[in-house]
C-alpha cells in the first residue's frame, strides 16, 4: 500500500481540526474583548453620576409586599433627611441565593458605595460574608444573633423583625377565647419563621392551647395546607413568612370560606383579609433603618454602637369587616392599642 496515499488522506483531517481550534480561539477572543469593552463602557457611563455626596447600596432579597414596604419606607425617609445628596443603587435578588451573592460581590467591588442596606435574611448573610469593612444596615431579619452578625467589632446593625410573641398570643387568646386548637402556617426551611414558631409553641402552651404545625414548601402547596388547617383547627396563625406574605389573598379567601379567624404577624397583611395582627410594620422598619444610616453617615457612629433595634410592635391592627363577619367581640382592655383597617 502506498504510504503517500494514506498520508494524503489523513492530512486534510488534521488540518481541519487545527483550523477548527483556531476558529474557536478567534471567536472566544472576539467575544471576551467585546464583553470587556461593554463593561468598561457601562462603568464610564455610570461614573458621571457622582454629583451626590453619599451612595447607598440596597440589596433586597425578593419582591413581595413586606420587603417592598421596608424598601420604600427606607428610601422615603432617606429622601426626607438627605434630599438630593444621597443616591441609592437598588438591586433585587429575586429570591435566588446565588443572585444575592453575585450582587453582594459586585456591591463589594464598587468603591463609591458608603453604606449598605439589606432587606431580609439571605441578603444580610450574602452581604455580610463579603463586606467586612463598610457599614451594613439590615432589616426584616428575625434573628441576627443566630447569624453571628452581632459582636463588638461588627459592621452590621439594623432592625430586627422579631415580634413580641407573648403579646401576640395574648391578643389571640382575648379575641377568640373559644378557640382550643391553633394551626400555625409557615414555610419549612425558612429560618426566620422557625424561630418565631418555636416561641409561638411556648406561648400557646402557657395559654393551654393546642398548636398544630402546617408547613409548606412553596406557594403551590398553600391551598392544601390551609384547607386542612381550617378543618382541623379553630384558628390560624402565621409568623412573618415570605410564602404567607406572597399568598395572603388566597389564604384569607380559604379561611373566610371556612369562617376561621386568621392571625398574621405582619401588619400590612391584615387589610388583605386576615383578622388581626400585632406584629411588625415593615415600612416603619425601613424608616428606623434610615435613621440608623443618618446616625452612621452624619453622626459618624459605628454600627457596633448602634447594634440591633427591635421593631415597633405595640399596635394591634384589626380588619373591621372580618371582625364583623366572624362576630368577634373586642374586649375593652385591647381597645386602646387598636387600629382598624378596612379591607382591600
Amino acid at each position: 500500500m502506498n504510504p503517500g496515499l494514506f498520508r494524503g488522506f489523513l492530512l486534510p483531517k488534521i488540518n481541519n481540526i487545527k483550523k477548527e481550534k483556531e476558529i474557536i480561539m478567534k471567536k472566544l477572543i472576539i467575544f471576551f474583548v467585546a464583553v470587556i469593552l461593554a463593561f468598561i463602557l457601562v462603568k464610564q457611563l455610570k461614573k458621571n453620576r457622582s454629583t451626590t455626596k453619599y451612595t447607598i447600596g440596597i440589596l433586597q432579597t425578593a419582591s413581595h409586599p413586606a420587603l417592598d414596604a421596608a424598601r420604600s419606607g427606607f428610601t422615603d425617609a432617606l429622601k426626607e433627611t438627605f434630599g438630593d445628596t444621597i443616591h441609592c443603587i437598588i438591586q433585587n435578588a429575586q429570591g435566588s441565593i446565588i443572585t444575592a451573592h453575585t450582587i453582594a460581590q459586585q456591591f463589594h467591588t464598587n468603591p463609591q458605595i458608603d453604606c449598605f442596606f439589606t432587606i431580609a435574611t439571605p441578603a444580610a448573610i450574602a452581604l455580610s460574608t463579603v463586606e467586612k469593612k463598610r457599614p451594613i444596615v439590615i432589616a426584616a431579619v428575625t434573628d441576627p444573633q443566630a447569624l453571628g452578625l452581632i459582636h463588638p467589632t461588627t459592621n452590621v446593625c439594623g432592625v430586627r423583625d422579631m415580634i413580641n410573641v407573648k403579646a401576640e398570643i395574648n391578643m389571640l387568646a382575648q379575641l377568640v377565647p373559644q378557640a382550643k386548637t391553633i394551626g400555625i402556617l409557615y414555610t419549612s426551611g425558612e429560618t426566620n419563621s422557625l424561630t418565631m414558631v418555636q416561641e409561638m409553641h411556648k406561648e400557646l402552651e402557657k395559654h393551654n392551647l393546642i398548636s398544630l404545625d402546617f408547613t409548606v414548601l412553596n406557594e403551590t402547596e398553600i391551598p392544601t395546607a390551609v384547607g386542612l388547617a381550617c378543618r382541623k383547627t379553630d384558628a390560624l396563625l402565621a409568623p412573618t413568612d415570605n410564602t404567607v406574605a406572597a399568598t395572603i389573598s388566597l389564604i384569607s379567601t380559604i379561611t373566610h370560606e371556612h369562617k376561621k379567624p386568621l392571625f398574621v404577624s405582619d401588619n400590612m397583611l391584615v387589610k388583605f383579609g386576615a383578622l388581626a395582627a400585632r406584629g411588625i410594620d415593615y415600612k416603619e422598619s425601613g424608616k428606623q433603618a434610615a435613621a440608623m444610616v443618618q446616625k452612621i453617615l452624619i453622626g459618624h457612629k459605628k454600627p457596633a454602637e448602634l447594634s440591633i433595634e427591635n421593631g415597633h410592635t405595640e399596635k394591634i391592627i384589626i380588619n373591621s369587616k372580618i371582625a364583623r363577619d366572624l362576630h368577634i367581640i373586642i374586649p375593652e382592655k385591647l381597645k386602646g392599642d387598636l387600629l382598624y383597617v378596612n379591607p382591600e
Binding site: 477548527e20 474557536i24 471567536k27 472566544l28 467575544f31 464583553v35 470587556i36 461593554a38 463593561f39 468598561i40 457601562v42 462603568k43 455610570k46 433586597q60 419582591s63 443603587i89 437598588i90 438591586q91 433585587n92 429575586q94 429570591g95 435566588s96 441565593i97 446565588i98 443572585t99 451573592h101 453575585t102 450582587i103 460581590q105 459586585q106 463589594h108 467591588t109 464598587n110 468603591p111 435574611t121 439571605p122 448573610i125 450574602a126 460574608t129 447569624l147 453571628g148 419549612s188 426551611g189 425558612e190 429560618t191 422557625l194 414548601l217
Partner: protein, 289 residues
C-alpha cells in the same frame, strides 16, 4: 480599573464553580439524552454534606470527597428509578430532588454558616483572594481533563452510544441500563461537587441556594455550544460567559425590576449574533466555490 479586575475575578470564580454543573448537565442532557432534574437536588446535597462536615472540623478536602460520594449515590438512585422502575426521565429527577430537600434539611438545616472554619480556600487567610481563583482553576481543569479522558475511553464511547444509538449497545452485548446509571452518576457527582464548592466559596449553606441551578447549567452549556459542541474545558468558558452576562446586567443599574428581561435580551443578542455569523459563513463559502 481595579474595580473591573475584582468584578472579573468574581465572574471567573463563579463561572468555574458553576462550570462543573455545566459539565454534569452536558454528560446527562447531551450524551445520554437524559434531562437530569436531579441536578438541583444533588447540588444542594453536596452543599449540605460539606457544610455539616466542615462545621464538625473535618478536613475541607475530605468534605468535598464526601459530597461527591453523596452526589454519586443520588445519581445511582436516579438511574435505578428510571431503569428498574421504568420511571420517566424527568420524573426520576423530580422525585430525587423532592426527596433530597427533606434529607438536606435534616443534614444541615435551612441555613448553616461556616463562620471561620477552614475551607479549601482559606488555609492562608491573607492569601484568600489569590488562592481562590487558582485553586478553583486547577480543580476544574483536573476534573474536566479526567472526564475528557474517560469519555475518550471505551466507557465514554459507549456512554455516547447510549444517547445516539442504544441498539448498538445491545448488539454488542452490553447493558445500556448500566451506562445510563453511570452517566447519571457522573452528572450528579459534578453537581454535588459544584454545590460543595459553592458552600465553601460563599461561607454558608442555604437550602434555597440550589433553586435555579439547572437553568445556570443549561444556559452555560448552550452558550458553550456557540463555540464548540464537544466536551472539554470550553464548557467552563460557557459558564463564565453566562456569569458575565448576569454581571453586566447588574452593572447597568437600571430599574432592578427589568434585570431579568435585560439578561434575557443579552442572551438573545448573543445567540442571534452567532446565527448571523453562521449564515454569513455559509454564504461566503457558497460564493468562493
Amino acid at each position: 480599573m481595579i474595580e473591573l479586575l475584582h468584578i472579573a475575578q468574581g465572574i471567573i470564580e463563579r463561572g468555574l464553580i458553576f462550570g462543573i454543573v455545566v459539565g454534569g448537565v452536558y454528560v446527562a442532557s447531551y450524551l445520554i439524552h437524559f434531562d437530569n432534574l436531579a441536578t438541583e437536588g444533588a447540588f444542594g446535597l453536596g452543599g449540605a454534606c460539606t457544610a455539616l462536615l466542615i462545621s464538625w472540623g473535618v478536613n475541607p478536602w475530605i468534605s468535598l470527597g464526601a459530597a461527591m460520594v453523596a452526589g454519586a449515590l443520588s445519581g445511582i438512585v436516579t438511574g435505578l428509578l428510571h431503569t428498574k422502575l421504568a420511571m420517566n426521565n424527568l420524573m426520576s429527577g423530580i422525585v430525587v430532588t423532592t426527596g433530597l430537600f427533606s434529607i438536606m434539611l435534616k443534614i444541615a438545616g435551612s441555613n448553616m454558616l461556616l463562620h471561620n472554619k477552614s475551607t479549601i480556600f482559606n488555609f492562608i487567610p491573607s492569601l484568600k483572594s489569590v488562592s481562590t481563583p487558582v485553586i478553583l482553576s486547577l480543580l476544574c481543569l483536573c476534573l474536566f481533563l479526567a472526564i475528557n479522558y474517560l469519555l475518550k475511553s471505551e466507557i465514554g464511547y459507549l456512554l455516547q452510544a447510549v444517547g445516539d444509538n442504544k441498539q448498538m449497545l445491545t448488539n454488542i452485548g452490553k447493558n445500556s441500563d448500566n451506562y445510563i446509571i453511570f452517566g447519571l452518576l457522573i452528572s450528579n457527582t459534578c453537581a454535588a461537587l459544584s454545590g460543595a464548592l459553592f458552600v465553601q466559596y460563599v461561607g454558608y449553606f442555604s437550602i434555597w441556594a440550589s433553586v435555579g441551578i439547572l437553568i445556570i447549567g443549561l444556559s452555560g452549556m448552550i452558550l458553550t455550544q456557540l463555540f464548540s459542541i464537544t466536551f472539554g474545558p470550553l464548557l467552563l468558558f460557557g459558564s463564565i460567559i453566562y456569569q458575565a452576562i448576569i454581571a453586566l446586567t447588574f452593572e447597568f443599574q437600571l430599574d432592578q425590576e427589568w434585570n431579568k428581561l435585560i439578561t434575557a435580551l443579552l442572551i438573545i443578542i448573543l445567540i442571534s449574533a452567532k446565527q448571523l455569523s453562521e449564515k454569513k459563513g455559509k454564504r461566503d463559502s457558497h460564493v468562493t466555490t
